[in-house]
Symmetry: C2
Subunit: 327 residues, 2 copies
């Protein structure tokens, strides 16, 4: 497959009818129209074979995830996705691989009416860099530096699943002895690793309700730590409140689960802080949208993230084991 064919294969799969794309793929630059009153939100993330995904992972999943991790950043900003560029470095122009990759990318793009507006294909070790663009009124954008003492801390979805999926693929995580449906659980956990769901709709509902927000890509403690550092505050998390999928609950014991949920990355859930008076309206709005959300702690004076057990006592970092995940 030549570079031209490769671009064409991707372009046809990602065709879009957006009228704000004045000139799309095929010229030196795309020409795009940002709606009046909206700020442009821009984020970029790279996935490298052998680092961020297994080199023999399904190309559909790689395509999906390369866009999902970027859309997750827009979600954490409260932005509506609009456009993306795709820089794809491939060691060989394998037709079937490229087609499946493009199918995965396009399947997620369609969910958000996102247009692929440009890119570059180069020869080299497999890696993918996607840059996404979205819209948000500047005054409503969610940021990391806006948490305040007294805010409640929430998280969407469930935590620890993707890290468990990774552990299963690596072979360093085994099912708990009492597990009776390991295969279905195993598939569910690995699916969460390969096809994360960017929480775009939830991010939009957080506008004007949440204060600070971040997506959980490096692990809950690390990412909530970024909010704390940027905002000049501390946070307390109640271990018992962390939202847990049925698959994860059945599959691993409590100790292993805590480590995965506190330190494991790749969940791409949103962690956000909410002023107490906004909590009822927020829970109501999110419940009506069908998106799960769980209150897991509070913002406090100080610095850093403290994890509490059911009695309110510190869970030692060593005991819960999440430092093994620290970068």
């Amino acid at each position: 497959m030549t570079e031209f064919d490769l671009i064409e294969s991707i372009r046809t799969r990602c065709a879009s009818t957006r009228t704000d794309v004045l000139l799309g793929i095929g010229d030196d630059a795309a020409l795009l129209a940002v709606p009046p009153g909206q700020a442009l939100a821009v984020s970029t993330d790279t996935l490298v074979a052998g680092v961020h995904f297994f080199s023999d992972a399904a190309p559909f999943d790689i395509g999906w995830k390369s866009l999902a991790v970027n859309l997750s950043d827009l979600a954490a900003t409260g932005a509506v996705p609009a456009w993306a560029t795709l820089a794809l470095t491939l060691s060989s122009g394998d037709d079937a691989w490229v087609s499946a990759f493009a199918d995965g990318f396009a399947a997620l793009a369609r969910q958000f009416d996102l247009a692929l507006v440009g890119g570059d294909t180069t020869q080299g070790p497999l890696s993918i860099t996607v840059t996404v663009h979205g819209f948000v009124p500047a005054s409503l954008a969610l940021r990391r530096d806006a948490a305040q003492v007294g805010d409640a801390v929430f998280v969407t979805g469930t935590l620890g699943d993707a890290a468990a999926g990774l552990g299963l693929l690596r072979g360093d995580l085994c099912a708990a002895p009492e597990t009776d449906t390991p295969n279905a659980h195993r598939a569910a956990l690995i699916e969460r690793l390969h096809r994360p769901t960017p929480r775009v709709a939830q991010g939009l509902l957080l506008r004007a309700r949440a204060r600070a927000c971040i997506d959980v890509s490096d692990g809950l403690v690390a990412d909530l730590g970024h909010i704390c550092k940027a905002s000049g505050v501390g946070a307390e998390i109640d271990l018992i409140r962390l939202p847990t999928s049925p698959a994860l609950r059945d599959f691993v014991g409590d100790e292993a689960r805590a480590a995965l949920q506190l330190g494991g990355g790749d969940d791409y859930e949103l962690c956000f802080t909410v002023p107490e008076q906004q909590v009822p309206a927020l829970i109501d709005a999110l419940a009506r949208s069908g998106g799960a959300v769980t209150r897991i702690g509070r913002i406090v004076a100080g610095a850093g993230v403290r994890v509490c057990d059911a009695g309110g006592n510190d869970v030692a970092r060593g005991r819960a084991g999440w430092e093994h995940f620290a970068a």
Copy 2:
């Protein structure tokens, strides 16, 4: 150097005071304000070690070139550069390398008051993906598909220098026997390969004067061919008119020079077409700006690019040897 230090090292070197950057590096997404009445021009290009540059090339040059090749795309669109994101994949966090890379990137960014607004640093085989953003009123943007029969074909600067520099570094190009200052010429040609000059100012002057435009990254025949294909026309180039630097003229013989100028890439000059009645105004405007520009041919009915010798006869592709450069 940790990922945080690495980002900080780059961020401090690329500090900007642009007021249209509402939120810069350090959050999930940058927040940016596009001026009213302007379209957003977006382009992305990847450079891979061992493919687009020698792995042991000076990191300053790699930083410079990774931005330059992207700015060249904005120039070819007639856009004013504004912002960039940088996705840097590195096999090791070598402090000195990263600092020099950032210095090279920043040196060129400062020339255009371009703000680095986001990015990603990952571990893996060395490669760099930059996405640039600029502004241009949509009706004034230069495109590939607007050439018309009768247009004059122009090119900025000189052609073939970067390809000669590459040949020198590879050892497959030697100085002509009569050359008496080979070292200075050698340095000049290699400099053109390593530090291309994006023709942003010229691109702006082409607005409302030129019809079609492209930057010469793959070689003159290939890139003018893209204009022809997009516009549904053909082109004739006069070999004798191709602008040649003193270094290239002295350094190689006529045959080798023709191949480098017709087929060599990496010059990052602009090739554009101009309606005849606009030619005097265009030459005047470009002369006042100090930018060299040369008329090299014309747009004709048909398809593809024909190269003519001094007598107006076809120069056979095989004889001039530029097919060796074809992708």
